[in-house]
Structures are given as structure tokens and as C-alpha cells.
Symmetry: C2
């Protein structure tokens, strides 16, 4: 009986990681109603690395696809990329990113994550930012993990119309529409 339970649990664990790849062991333990220790043993048996390592692997794959921007110029950690289509990055808000007066994350950090992600999805050897229409919906504070998703919604000539939506754990905190302009000749 215990063996069957375990098999079912491990199947559910794998399924869960397909749909929610950024789940921590704590998240998974809660979801499956078992201890964190059990999750760790299950991962070990299934050969699934811990969250940090999983993100590292995804980041590595995403980085290898980069074209219009150097990987060191991406703000936040790029963890998924389909060049010409979409991308995802994660940025954790640290103490040096907040305004002294309000302890709210400075607008330009959230912008930088979104903007560099928009640049990453452009399917060209080099590109620059043309236009951005942006909205800050909810103030963001230290410790929040921001997941930005970019999507190319249209391409006309050398112009890419890209939407980026950024969420914390709870809700959408920021959204931006960018027009990125690809450059004909690499490096200008």
C-alpha cells in the first residue's frame, strides 16, 4: 500500500513540476500533504534536482538562445526564452533596489528587468528600445520575487511590438508595451 501511495505521489510530483517549475520543496510538501523530507527523498529517487539547480539549468538553456542582447546585460535571471516569441525572467527585490523614503522598489529596476527581457526576445543580432508605455500597478518591496513574462505580439519591418507583464507571488504589479527596433548591421 505504502509503495503504491509513493508511486502515485511521485507521479503527482512530476506533474506538478511540469506546470509549476518554480515550486520549492516547501510548496511541494504542502501541495502533496507530506513532509519536506519526503519531497527531498522523492526528488532524489526521481533524479530531479533542487529548485536552485533546476533554475540554473533553465537559465543555461535560455542564455544559449540569446541574440539581441549579451547575457550579462539581462537584468534578473532569464529562465525561458523562445527568440522571436516569448521569454521569462525572475528578479528578487533586494534592499539596494528600494527608495529610501518609501521602501518601495525603484521604478527603473522593474523597468530594467522588463526592458532587457524585451530585448532578449527580439529575433535579430542587435536592437534598441524605441517606445515604452508602462504602468506600475502595485508597489513592490524587499524580498518579493518578480516574474516577468514577455510576448512578441506583432512584428512590422524592423519593429517588434512586445508586451511584458510582471507579477509577484500574488498579482500583476507592472506591465509594459515596448516597441523594440532591430538594427540591420550588428554593432551598428
Amino acid at each position: 500500500m505504502a509503495r503504491i501511495q509513493k508511486k502515485i505521489r511521485q507521479e503527482r510530483l512530476k506533474e506538478r513540476l511540469q506546470t509549476s517549475p518554480f515550486s520549492t520543496d516547501e510548496d511541494l510538501a504542502e501541495y502533496l500533504q507530506v513532509s519536506v523530507q519526503t519531497i527531498r527523498l522523492d526528488r532524489l529517487e526521481l533524479g530531479i534536482p533542487e529548485l536552485r539547480e533546476r533554475i540554473k539549468q533553465m537559465a543555461e538553456e535560455a542564455r544559449n538562445k540569446l541574440q539581441a542582447i549579451a547575457s550579462t546585460d539581462v537584468i534578473g535571471e532569464l529562465i525561458d526564452l523562445e527568440v522571436g516569441k516569448s521569454g521569462i525572467s525572475i528578479m528578487t527585490v533586494t534592499a539596494d533596489m528600494v527608495l529610501e523614503k518609501t521602501q518601495v522598489a525603484r521604478a527603473h529596476y522593474i523597468f530594467a528587468q522588463a526592458n532587457s527581457l524585451a530585448l532578449a526576445v527580439v529575433d535579430a543580432p542587435a536592437a534598441v528600445t524605441g517606445v515604452a508605455n508602462i504602468k506600475y500597478k502595485v508597489p513592490v518591496r524587499v524580498g518579493e520575487k518578480l516574474v516577468a513574462k514577455a510576448e512578441v505580439v506583432r512584428k512590422r519591418g524592423n519593429k517588434y511590438f512586445i508586451w511584458v507583464k510582471t507579477r509577484n507571488d500574488m498579482e500583476e504589479v507592472f506591465r509594459a508595451k515596448f516597441i523594440m527596433v532591430s538594427l540591420e548591421h550588428e554593432g551598428r
Copy 2:
């Protein structure tokens, strides 16, 4: 005769600095058709400090007027501020601000200068960024000195509508319309 010429020249020098306070000694020498050495002696006699020192004095005065943002949170050097009305800041593009691929200044640095200046002109103890519509008109490169000017164009309730225009020596390189939201209670 030489004495009269000198008096006239020194008057013109003072007038010039009223209208173009960021003129270098070289600019002034060219404008008045004399040597840089002559300009330096004239400044000495008139008790006018060199450009760097003049900017420092202006920055000091501007800093003392800050309300909605701490002075360390202003990106670039704030050199003029009329809270609730307008502000000016200067930022020189350094090598760490450009994208590796294109050697063009990253969008978020130019945004950061404009955005923090917009925050500086808000006439409230604290504020956050609500909306921004921005346009990058000309790519900016290392060494360029960017002068951003902010103007409050409208105020409605706790919302400030602020335009920021950024120029290099030659032309307008960037413009943004911000809606900044002042916070009722300090610290929020």
C-alpha cells in the same frame, strides 16, 4: 582702451553665465573671442568659480529642496529644482552604462535619470511612479552628457503629470510623460 574692453568683456561674461550656466571656460573663450587664460583671469577677478564648482553649488541648493525622494536616490546630478514646478539634472554616460552588443546606453539608465527627476519635482513628502509613456529618439553613447529637464504640466488630486525631456549636446534624445502619485502618509 584695454581697460574699457576688459570691463565690457567681463560684463558679457557675467551675462553669458546667466543664460548658459554650464559653459566651460573653452566655451566662454570661443564666445568672447579671447584665450582660455583670459577667461580664467576674468573669472578670478569677478569671483566666479570654475564650472565644476558652480555645478556643485547649484547641486547643493537643489538638494536642499528635495522632498519626495532622498538625494542619494536621484540618478544623475540634480542641479536645479523648483519643487512642484520643474527640475534639471545632468548625467554623463559611462562605459558601464552601455549595452555590450551595440555600445548604446541601456534604456533603463536614461529612464532612471528622468524618472528620479520626475520624483524630485513632486511637491509631497513621498511619491511613487504610476504611468510612464516614453520615447527613445536617438541612441546615446559613452561620454555623452545628458541634460534632463522636468516640468509639472498638470496636477489633479494626488496625481502629478510630469514631462521630462533629455538632450545631449546636439539634440533631444529622449522624452517621457510620467504620472507620479503622491502618497498621503509618509513612508507608504
